[in-house]
Symmetry: C2
Subunit: 312 residues, 2 copies
């Protein structure tokens, strides 16, 4: 049996069984070190899967850090230390230096520090980041309570539209198209939410594979049902323009598009913070699964081994 037959999640289930692991599959692993809770996470960008070698190298470095910071923030932490493991073919030195300029910019922005790493030779570029974060209180995806409101931190679907635009390889892009491309190339992890999550959220994760599948993961881990309202799901002007131009449905992009790195979290309505860009997209109810305007939503989204055709 090959990996493509069981998918990424099927593989992870099998590997967890081998390790007798109780890991629930949160964005980070909370561990105890010296009496405090530390968050560990890793995420990889692989050439021709997550990026093309023709992308701006600094964007590759920026994104490699950002996707990891997003995991730490999703669990209520702030990033502290990173290690970078590079696999590199015999590329131009300037390419690697520019990747690192992106890494540096991201680390300055998120206030974390690269403390080490490793370089190996390989056939494709692979940027693997390990990030260590600190937190007052770990918040995972299993704590959603009946009656909680469901929030996201910003517009969804932009990154997917940006990826499609990039792959069109047009000579000239309109301004709104460039914005969407930028959101795919240089997503921003929502560090502004770290304290709010740690202090108030009952459950939290980042939306890396698409709202539909990620909402299912949160619902399943918490043993609840999420009831979402389509009219409240935030959609950017740029995505609306894109969908108008190409005859597409923005809601589908918001539900199925991945890599936006917005946060999905739940807590009681009263904990709403007007200084953060919180969008109230639903409520937590008794039951299971995810519903949109009272219709069941399939757990569709990005699975590395099954639906690669929908990626690059």
């Amino acid at each position: 049996m090959r990996l493509s037959q069981i998918g990424e999640l099927g593989l992870i289930e099998r590997l967890k069984r081998i390790l007798d692991s109780q890991i629930i599959g949160d964005d980070t692993a909370p561990v105890n070190l010296g009496g405090s809770t530390v968050l560990l996470t890793c995420d990889t960008l692989v050439e021709d899967r997550h990026f093309k070698i023709s992308y701006p190298p600094s964007a590759i470095g920026w994104k490699a850090i950002s996707v990891n910071v997003s995991d730490v923030v999703a669990n209520g932490g702030t990033p502290a230390y990173a290690l970078i493991s590079l696999v590199l073919p015999d590329v131009q030195v300037s390419f690697v230096e520019e990747v690192y300029l992106g890494v540096k910019k991201a680390c300055e922005f998120y206030r974390c520090q690269v403390v080490g790493g490793n370089v190996s030779k390989g056939d494709k570029v692979c940027v693997d980041v390990f990030l260590v974060g600190e937190t007052e209180r770990f918040v995972g995806r299993r704590g959603a309570m009946e009656g909680d409101w469901v929030f996201v931190s910003g517009p969804l679907g932009d990154s997917r539209a940006g990826l499609e635009l990039l792959l069109m390889e047009k000579k000239n892009y309109e301004d709104f198209e460039l914005s969407l491309i930028e959101r795919h190339l240089r997503p921003t992890a929502r560090v502004d939410f770290a304290k709010h999550i740690s202090k108030y959220a009952n459950a939290s994760m980042d939306i890396s594979d698409g709202l539909s599948i990620d909402a299912h993961r949160l619902a399943q881990a918490s043993g609840v049902r999420l009831n979402l309202f389509s009219k409240n799901i935030p959609i950017s002007q740029e995505l609306r323009s894109f969908c108008r131009k190409h005859g597409k449905d923005p809601l589908q992009y918001a539900l199925l598009g991945g890599e936006d790195y917005q946060l999905l979290f739940t807590h009681p309505a009263g904990r709403f913070n007007p200084f953060l860009s919180m969008f109230h997209i639903g409520v937590v109810e008794k039951g299971q699964g995810v519903y949109l305007d009272n219709n069941p939503v399939e757990p569709e989204g990005f699975d590395h081994f099954r639906v690669l055709a929908t990626s690059i």
Copy 2:
């Protein structure tokens, strides 16, 4: 300019400059978390560079953990938590499961725990391990003092001979050949030395790229000269048999062969511990560089981007 023109170390120097990093390039990065010193390290095994897909999968998992544990032990720590980032083509599920059985066995042996990871699709198998260790006292490669004795923790050169035997792909191997192959496939990190290093060593590192180049690194970081005695360098019976059979010089294997994952460390003679397999191979003197029986030794060894031809 391409990577092959500046080599792995040249690249690392440039990347450190970009990050304004004071990192000296120890085996692990010591960081402060919750008031205690934590060691962070990562190391990758890449298909066709560090292993062939035909190797026993459990050995790949064992080695991926061991090489990281070796880094932590070299700096006086004990391993605690690991993350594993896998890049996988569409291989057999059983292959990945067997890799993980090797990971599990290693974690049980070294008493550490896999707490998370990540899976991506790619063209070649890549096993990237991130390891977090704990220590009472970090010991790096910069503290060697004049008058210290230089020690290694066990025989050198076996792994290199084992690799060469593996690549011969013989139908039948003699017993001593199988032992050498086993040392290449399943090196053991010297966790038995962790406390001794942390308590007594002035400088320490593991020998992953070969005694010659690694001794140079320790000498340079400490600003001292290492004077080694060839007759004291431990060489196994198996390596002697191999060299007799193939007309090779065992000392060359001990000096240039990498991946033995023995420890190289220094401290005053009086701190010798008779319960550990400590081999006194030299002394620390004023000056610079590495000398063998008073003749200068070139810093030769394994560099990922220059001398790949000498690897797989």
